[in-house]
Each structure stands twice: as structure tokens, then as C-alpha cells.
């Protein structure tokens, strides 16, 4: 009877997800509802400043940008790229700083796991929550863009769920670094070494045709590039070329990143 128990399950086993994630998601929503308005201001003020400063300022110098066959106003070019960047940043901030607070500083996760909720479901809830925050931010910015008359493409309705997907991809990626972090300082590396270079290499601010060959080839495989390639045509009332390819790249990043993030988080909590 007292023989050795079966060996501890490995950290790389398949995710075991259930609807038990929902009250955890709801918890984050309830906290956020108390702080939504100041949080909204913070979330959309910066992207709008970029848009105004670069879009109208630089736009006056640049004029139009050649995009395939068509020439588009710089502000439209920038808006369609920077909205992807906003989704990326909003999801990343939430899945890094805020998730780390709950996981490590407040020990909220430990409390939750004393109830019948597994770590896998907690990680799923945090991932979806960060994606929801991204969607919320993006919705607010889209509203402002519509009001400014930057684009009136009906295909923007489709850009909305795509941007939720972009939020999901980046929240999965960020959760990997959340699992590895010893403190908030660690996240600076993620932003300066990963997200900031990607901002400049993914065609948000200028067409990727300007990039040297090797860098361009690398840029093809960056998640933000694939997000921009999907979203920008929708702003121009066009269908994205090779949508399935960009979608698959994002999906591959999402699945791989979630799996890795979950494994590393399991390792962190395995004590």
C-alpha cells in the first residue's frame, strides 16, 4: 500500500484547461472595474500621442507612403500599424507587471489554488485577461480613430477580433517572462530587447521594404509583422494577402508560447 507514488507529472504535459478559469478572470475584471477610467486614460493616451505627433507631424513631411500598388496617407499607414503595437503593449504590460503582482507580490494565485482551481486554469485566466485588456485598449483607440476620420473601412469590424488574437499571442509570450521573473526589473529586458526592436522592424512606422535583406527576412517571422500584415489592409478596405499564412504564424507563436509559459509556471510553483 505504501509503495512509491507515481512519479510527479512532468512540467511539459499537455495543458489541462477547464471552465474553472472563469471566476479568476471575473476577479480581475472586478478589480479593473474599480480602476477602469484612469487605466483607460493611461492605455490610450500614449498611443494617441504617437499617432498625433508622428501621424500629423511626420505625415506632413512624408506625405504618402507607397504600399504595393497604392499610395496611402502616412497617418493611415501609421494608425493601422500602431493599433497592433497598442494591442501588443497592452497585453504585455498586463501579463507582465500586473500578473507578476498577483502571482508573486500579492500571492493571489496561491490563495486561488487553495480553492478547487488548478494552476493551469489560473494561467489561462491571466492569459485571457491580458488579451481582454488589449481588446479594451484597442477598442478605445479605434473609437478615437473613427472619430478623427482616419479610416471608415467597414472591414474594421473584422480588425477587431484579429486584434483580440494579437492580444492573445502577446499575452502568451509575456507569460513566459512572467514565469521566469525574479522581480519587476526583469521585464525591462523584455521590453528593450524584444518588444522595442520589434516595433521598428515590423512595419509599424515605415514600410519594411526599407530594411536590409537579412533583417527583412527576419522581420517576416516576427509576430508583430504578421499582425500588421493582417490588420493594415483592413484599414484600407482591402483583404490581406496570404491571410492564412500570417494567421498560422500567429497561431504557432500563441500555442508554443502558451505551452512554454505554462510549463515554466508549473516549474516555478512546483516547490
Amino acid at each position: 500500500m505504501d509503495g512509491p507514488v507515481s512519479p510527479a507529472p512532468g512540467i511539459w504535459r499537455a495543458p489541462e484547461l477547464s471552465l474553472r478559469f472563469w471566476p479568476v478572470f471575473l476577479r480581475n475584471l472586478l478589480v479593473w472595474r474599480k480602476l477602469a477610467i484612469p487605466s483607460l486614460v493611461g492605455n490610450i493616451a500614449e498611443p494617441l500621442m504617437w499617432l498625433v505627433a508622428f501621424g500629423y507631424g511626420m505625415g506632413a513631411l512624408v506625405g504618402q507612403v507607397q504600399l504595393g500598388e497604392t499610395r496611402v496617407p502616412y497617418i493611415l499607414f501609421l494608425a493601422s500599424g500602431s493599433i497592433c503595437m497598442s494591442a501588443m503593449n497592452a497585453a504585455s504590460f498586463e501579463a507582465l507587471y500586473s500578473a507578476f503582482s498577483r502571482m508573486h507580490v500579492q500571492k493571489t494565485w496561491d490563495g486561488i489554488m487553495n480553492a478547487p482551481v488548478s494552476l493551469d486554469d489560473v494561467v489561462l485566466a491571466e492569459m485571457l485577461w491580458a488579451a481582454f485588456k488589449a481588446l479594451f485598449t484597442v477598442t478605445a483607440i479605434l473609437g478615437v480613430m473613427l472619430a478623427l476620420g482616419i479610416s471608415h473601412s467597414p472591414k474594421l469590424l473584422l480588425a477587431w477580433p484579429v486584434l483580440l488574437g494579437v492580444g492573445i499571442t502577446f499575452s502568451c509570450l509575456a507569460l513566459i517572462f512572467n514565469a521566469l521573473a525574479k522581480g519587476y526589473d526583469f521585464f525591462t529586458y523584455y521590453f528593450t530587447l524584444f518588444l522595442t526592436p520589434m516595433m521598428f522592424l515590423s512595419g509599424v512606422f515605415f514600410p519594411r521594404e526599407q530594411l536590409p535583406g537579412v533583417v527583412h527576412a527576419i522581420s517576416d517571422w516576427l509576430p508583430l509583422t504578421n499582425a500588421v500584415e493582417l490588420v493594415r489592409p483592413l484599414f484600407l478596405d482591402q483583404w490581406p494577402a496570404q491571410a492564412w499564412r500570417h494567421g498560422l504564424v500567429l497561431l504557432a507563436y500563441t500555442v508554443a508560447a502558451f505551452w512554454v509559459a505554462l510549463a515554466l509556471t508549473r516549474k516555478r510553483f512546483r516547490g
Partner: protein, 315 residues
């Protein structure tokens, strides 16, 4: 004898070459309060974490027998972790309350993790707050509460699902005496209601007051088990005479030694353990410069005898 509500057999956990928990077995009968005592690093918290499925044991079985909807079900940790936790109440060593929520919201949000309906939780909140003596603080956030209030809120939160068994890891550490007494009163109330409790503690008066039985752990091993009274009778002489003051240390090697069954020195104090203190006290009366304290042997003496007096800092 009834089926134990929790039965642990041959539980072991190693970290590298360090056996943190080493072949520990124990059981909790329904309605019982089992106390786990031991110095820092004895394996108390690791044992609780394994009972919660948070740490995977290297060997051993953890079986719960918790009443289900109709009959008692036998459940194994870690396979049935979620089904077990649905019927457990847990207070961990450090508070994990949500700082952004009021006391009432903390209870509501926690109840949802048990798949309870909002209406059912809301109906329970007033009595839970009253139990925690926090009715007047329903809308206050944990950051504005005292340490004792926060611990009581943690206890109330652990009761949201009306559990049969509570696992409490050092529930009164860091509290002032008033707050500790109130906590003890509440735990006694729960025992009277028929709940079972597994409790780890550093406080021997807490163990003596609350626990039906005690488990003494040291270096990951179980070194003694029994009711507080039986343990004291089994391991100790009934009387203790403590002597301190100028020249006290010299007594440890004097003729007085023959009047005691056992003599111990700690710091500036000499402890005489004896079945009959009278001859010793009469002899000591000849040295009025010494201060003496005559008292019955207690759990603290037992604890120090079993685990030694050296400081453990590897918490």
C-alpha cells in the same frame, strides 16, 4: 473507530540530498484537532503543501475521506486534488487576501472559486463576517485592517464553502495576545461545530489549548505523537524548578543535582526536572540571592527536550 478524515502514510519529500519530510504518517479523526509542532525547517509547511497537492511527494499516500452529497467518499491526493479542495478550508502561513477588495468582496470572489452561486455566497457573507468579528468592517479593504483582523478574514474566507476539514498553517503567528485569544476562541467554536482541524504552530500554549493530539516533527521525521498530557507524562518529570541569578550556573554541578532527575542549563538559567520538588526547594531556600520558579512541566519543556535548545534558522 471512525474512518479518519485525513490519513497520511509514509510521506516523504527530498530536495536534492535534503530529506525535508521523511516517512511521516498520521491520521485525523473526524472532529479532532491535530497539532503539528516542530522547529523551523522541521517539514511542517511542506507536509501541509503535500496534503494540498501543491508539492508532489516522492513517496507516500494521502487519503481523504470526506462526506459527499450522500456518502463518504475516499479521495486520493494528488489525483483528486480539485474534488478534495472543494471540501477543504485552508489558511496559509501568509495572508493572500485581495488588497483591492473589501472584506465582503473578498469572501464573494473566493466563494466563486468553489463554483458557488453569487446568491448563496451573499447569503453566507453576514454570518462569516460576524464569525470573524468583522461585521463592522464589511466595506473596508484588508490594507486598513489590523494583523489579527486580516487573519480572521482569512479564516472566514476558508469557511466560505462550509468545509469539514481545515488546514491551518501557523494561523496566529505574528498576532498580539488579544488577537490570538480571539482566534483560539473562534477555532474552538469550529471544533464544537464538529469540524476537524490540522494546525501547525510554534506556540505551545496554542497547541495545548486547541489540539486533541500532537505530532512532533524534527528534521522531517515524526519524533513523537500523542495527547498533550500523555506526551508530557511520557517524556518529562512532572515538576520543573528554574533557578537564575548570581551563582545559579554553579548549581548545575553541585550536590543539588542529586535532588533532580535531570538538570539542564540554558543561558543563565538552570532547569531541574524532578518528580518531587520539595527537597530541592528547601535546599534552595538556603540561597536567597537566587531566584527560583517552581512550575509543572509543560509542552514547551517537552518541545525543547525533544528538539533541543539550539537555534534553527533554516526556516
Amino acid at each position: 473507530m471512525a474512518t479518519p478524515i485525513l490519513s497520511v502514510q509514509g510521506l516523504s519529500k527530498r530536495y536534492g540530498s535534503n530529506a525535508v519530510v521523511n516517512d511521516v504518517s498520521f491520521a485525523i479523526e473526524p472532529g479532532e484537532c491535530l497539532g503539528v509542532i516542530g522547529p523551523n525547517g522541521a517539514g511542517k509547511t511542506t507536509t501541509i503543501r503535500m496534503c494540498l497537492g501543491l508539492t508532489a511527494p516522492d513517496a507516500g499516500r494521502i487519503t481523504y475521506s470526506l462526506a459527499g452529497h450522500s456518502t463518504a467518499e475516499t479521495l486520493q491526493m494528488p489525483q483528486d486534488a480539485l474534488a478534495i479542495k472543494a471540501r477543504l478550508g485552508v489558511v496559509s502561513q501568509f495572508d493572500t487576501l485581495d488588497p483591492d477588495f473589501s472584506c465582503a468582496e473578498n469572501l464573494l470572489v473566493y466563494g466563486r472559486y468553489f463554483r458557488m452561486k453569487d446568491g448563496a455566497i451573499r447569503a453566507r457573507i453576514p454570518q462569516l463576517l460576524e464569525f470573524a468579528a468583522l461585521s463592522h468592517k464589511a466595506k473596508v479593504k484588508p490594507g486598513e485592517l489590523s494583523g489579527g483582523m486580516r487573519r480572521r478574514l482569512s479564516l472566514a474566507r476558508a469557511l466560505v464553502n462550509d468545509p469539514q476539514l481545515l488546514l491551518l498553517d501557523e494561523p496566529t503567528t505574528g498576532l498580539d495576545p488579544q488577537a490570538r485569544h480571539l482566534m483560539w476562541e473562534r477555532l474552538q467554536l469550529l471544533l464544537q461545530q464538529g469540524k476537524s482541524i490540522l494546525l501547525t504552530t510554534h506556540f505551545m500554549d496554542e497547541a495545548e489549548r486547541l489540539c486533541t493530539r500532537l505530532l512532533v516533527l524534527d528534521h522531517g521525521r515524526k519524533i513523537a505523537e500523542g495527547t498533550p498530557r500523555n506526551l508530557i507524562e511520557q517524556y518529562l518529570e512532572p515538576d520543573v524548578v528554574e533557578v537564575y541569578g548570581v551563582g545559579a550556573l554553579a548549581l548545575a554541578d553541585s550536590a543539588l543535582k542529586a535532588l533532580a532527575a535531570r538538570v539542564e542549563v540554558s543561558g543563565e538559567t538552570v532547569f531541574f526536572y524532578t518528580p518531587d520538588a520539595q527537597p530541592l526547594l528547601q535546599a534552595l531556600a538556603a540561597q536567597p540571592q537566587l531566584r527560583t520558579l517552581h512550575r509543572p512541566a509543560n509542552l514547551e519543556d517537552l518541545f525543547l527536550k525533544l528538539t533541543g535548545r539550539q537555534i534553527r534558522e533554516d526556516g
